[in-house]
């Protein structure tokens, strides 16, 4: 199992874990006896902004049931790789596809190995789907569409390789996520043939309903949230600060790479100059040639080191810089959900107040004019109000559930994200430090061998004193 354990003893007697459909498969694998009878597999695709009515227990109990195993690696049961970029030319466009290979022992997959080809658009689609289904969970960022700065061509080899690595990391983060990894969309992404994927993509909420959701979201954003819990405010402050720091680190590292490259340019001229000099000399020819060789070797090591920084540290820093945008969006969406709840609460209160005042008003005059008995009219009005209030109350309940769900999901995913961030950044920096040590060790060896050769020469000639 990928780092996810269900503790079925927590909520009193209620061992069912009602969770949106896309991780239902996961639960079935765990404790088939307990869950199978209570749980009903609802196969409708969740629309992120409205809450699925099959929620059976309070979201609060669910949180206790997400426990993350420390050594998830040992229990990893799905392996995804992204490689082998290929370019495709059609009449309309040229694009790159990547090979996605999946190896898994999970039973919800029809086979244990899959190989498909996907293009960047497909990854974008998957990300969008996951975000829609889980507005307050944190989806790892995708590499950017294209780099305008530096005018990198879309089909440049380095660009493609950098993107491939980022896509690989993206899918692996999804696979490691306790909720995302059991997403149906994820499964389809990994397994469906290109044609199938295209038609699958066409299902799902239509344009109009998505428009509707966008309008709702904008309205909620305009309304603003009134009573944001302290912990989310703290999260927001942290994200602001973290975003600055990580983007500074990204910039600093890029600057280091630039300076190293310029240093390399100059250093590359040193070796040949020593070699040129050796041609005019007799006694000195040998040591000068040796020095030239040493400088050239150090050049190669420096080149290697620059490449390492570029390939290892910078992408990680960059991804976490992108992450902060995701985090901000997630916090915003949570705020919107709360704003929506607050608005509905207010509306209900207003309606109830209306009902109370309504029962006191005697608009007899008008009603008698239109020939209805005051009692009838009053009854009618009361009935209508009662109906409206019930509807609003149901709506409000759903909104409350949705809010609680969103808050808890965010809280636990936040913990997971922080842990991941710490691990990723720590290992990236440790790795960088280690590579730097290696770099210096190699250069050290180069110069020590030069000294050694000079020593043996000198001792042979019986002149130079090294004391």
């Amino acid at each position: 199992m990928s780092g996810f354990v269900v503790d079925s003893t927590v909520s009193s007697g209620n061992s069912s874990v009602a969770i949106p459909t896309d991780i239902s498969g996961q639960i079935l694998d765990l404790d088939e006896d307990d869950d199978l009878e209570v749980f009903s597999k609802d196969t409708t695709v969740t629309d992120g902004s409205s809450f699925n009515a099959s929620m059976q227990t309070s979201p609060a109990s669910m949180i206790n049931q997400y426990k993350f195993e420390e050594d998830a690696e040992d229990t990893k049961d799905i392996f995804v790789t992204v490689d082998n970029p290929e370019s495709h030319v059609t009449a309309i466009e040229t694009y790159i596809t990547y090979r996605v290979v999946t190896k898994t022992t999970r039973s919800e997959f029809d086979s244990s190995e899959f190989e498909v080809r996907r293009r960047y658009q497909d990854f974008l689609w998957l990300k969008g789907r996951l975000e829609e289904a889980h507005p307050t969970l944190i989806v790892h960022p995708l590499p950017e569409k294209f780099v305008v700065k530096g005018m990198v061509e879309r089909f440049n080899e380095d660009f493609i390789e950098t993107r491939r690595r980022a896509l690989h990391r993206f899918l692996n983060k999804i696979a490691e996520h306790p909720i995302f990894s059991s997403s149906e969309d994820f499964k389809i992404f990994l397994t469906a043939a290109s044609g199938e994927l295209t038609s699958y993509k066409k299902q799902g909420p239509g344009f109009l309903s998505r428009m509707g959701e966008t309008v709702k979201a904008v309205a909620a954003a305009v309304r603003g949230v009134r009573n944001r819990p302290q912990e989310f405010t703290e999260m927001q402050e942290y994200v602001e600060a973290f975003s600055q720091k990580i983007s500074s680190l990204d910039k600093v590292t890029q600057r280091i790479v630039r300076e190293q490259k310029e240093y390399l340019e100059e250093l590359k001229e040193c070796g040949p100059t020593y070699a040129l000099w050796s041609q005019s000399e007799e006694e000195l020819a040998e040591p000068l040639k040796d020095v030239a060789g040493c400088v050239d070797r150090c050049c190669k090591e420096t080149e290697e080191q620059v490449k390492n920084l570029n390939d290892n540290l910078i992408p990680v820093l960059h991804e976490y810089a992108l992450c902060t945008e995701t985090l901000k969006a997630v916090l915003r969406r949570r705020d919107n959900i709360q704003a929506d709840f607050e608005a509905k609460t207010e509306a209900l209160a207003t309606k109830k107040a209306d009902r109370d005042t309504e029962s006191k008003v005697l608009s007899l005059a008008w009603d008698s004019l239109v020939g209805r008995s005051p009692e009838e009219v009053k009854q009618q009005k009361q009935q209508t109000l009662k109906g409206e209030i019930k509807e609003m109350r149901d709506d409000l309940d759903k909104a409350e559930d949705r809010l609680e769900w969103a808050n808890n999901a965010l809280k636990s995913d936040w913990t997971r994200w922080q842990k991941d961030m710490r691990t990723d950044l720590r290992s990236a920096f440790v790795d960088t430090a280690e590579r730097n040590v290696n770099y210096y060790e190699k250069c050290l060896a180069v110069w020590e061998s030069f000294l050694h050769s000079q020593r043996t020469d000198a001792e042979g000639n019986g002149n130079v004193d090294f004391s």
Partner: protein, 403 residues
Amino acid sequence: VERTSLLKMMEISVAEAEKRTGKNAVNMQETYTVYLIETRPVDAASEGTNPVPDSLWRRYSEFELLRNYLLVTYPFSVVPPLPEKRAEFVWHKLSADNMDPDFVERRRVGLENFLLRVASHPDLSSDKIFYSFLTEENGWKETVFETGFQAKADSRLKALNATFRVKNPDKRFAEMKHYGDELQSVISQLLRVRARAADRLYGVYKVHGNYGRVFSEWSAIEKEMGDGLQSAGHHMDAYAASVDDILEEEEHYADQLKEYLFYADALRAVCRKHELTQYELEMAAQDLTSKKQQREELATGTIRTFSLKGMTSKLFGQETPEQREAKLKMLETQIEEGEELVKERNAECEEFVKSAWVDIERFKEQKDHDLREALISYAIMQISMCKKGIQVWNNAKECFSKM
């Protein structure tokens, strides 16, 4: 360092540098630097006493005067060069200002080196003017001028002329001159490239200082990661700071290269002097030959070479036998003088070639030895730099793993 009789007698050092202000030749205020030359008898150390050394102050222009004197007086010697007059091959952090304390310090070291080089030269070390430069503060300038060395200096034009017109210079000197050209060119290039690389390396190290700052700020918002980040940041600061020492040491290496850059010039000067003496010999020989030819023509009456005299006599009539006799007598005298001159110049030339070649060989050995030492010390510097890097990044790695 050869133990000449001078060095067996005294220890020489340029101990200090000081700023002075005074009126210059055109009565304007100027600031200049003076250097303290200290001399101490060698026996002092063995006697156990530590007497105060004799000392006097000299400025750079006096060193220049001394060197010019040596160049003229010992043209067959490869005269040690002075440290550069103005800072060249600088990289951005290094100042090009002559008053900059780092420049002054490096110049002090260079001047001491110059004095030691002269003092260990088999010929130059026994020069009286040099000795009084080290020991007599007042009146030294006058003494130098009294030698009249300036009059003996060859004009630039004369030397250039000789270089172009000499027919049979000693092959070895021609090769040496060519070597001097190459050495100058390649060392200049090396110094330029090195300075640019130093500039860039400085940038690389200093940017890492930013890591220190950002890690420190970042650690403030983290709980568990805070300590690791904070301490890693300190190591990044240390890394950034370490480049200053590294580049200072490299500057010393650059100075060693510069000395031989300027030595190349001194070498070429000796070769040019050879060309000059050879040319003057050739001129004298040529003159003698033409005089002998004239004598022959006059004696036999045949005109083999064109001469204005011959033409005019053809046009205006022959000369009288008495006139011819007088001319012959004059030519004989001139030929005698000419033969003396050729003998003289020949001896000069041979003498010069012998002495100069000895010094050139001595110089070659010195150069090979010194430059090899310089390359070795460069390697040692690189090793030290690598060791520092290994230490810093290992420390940083440990801190990062505690993140």
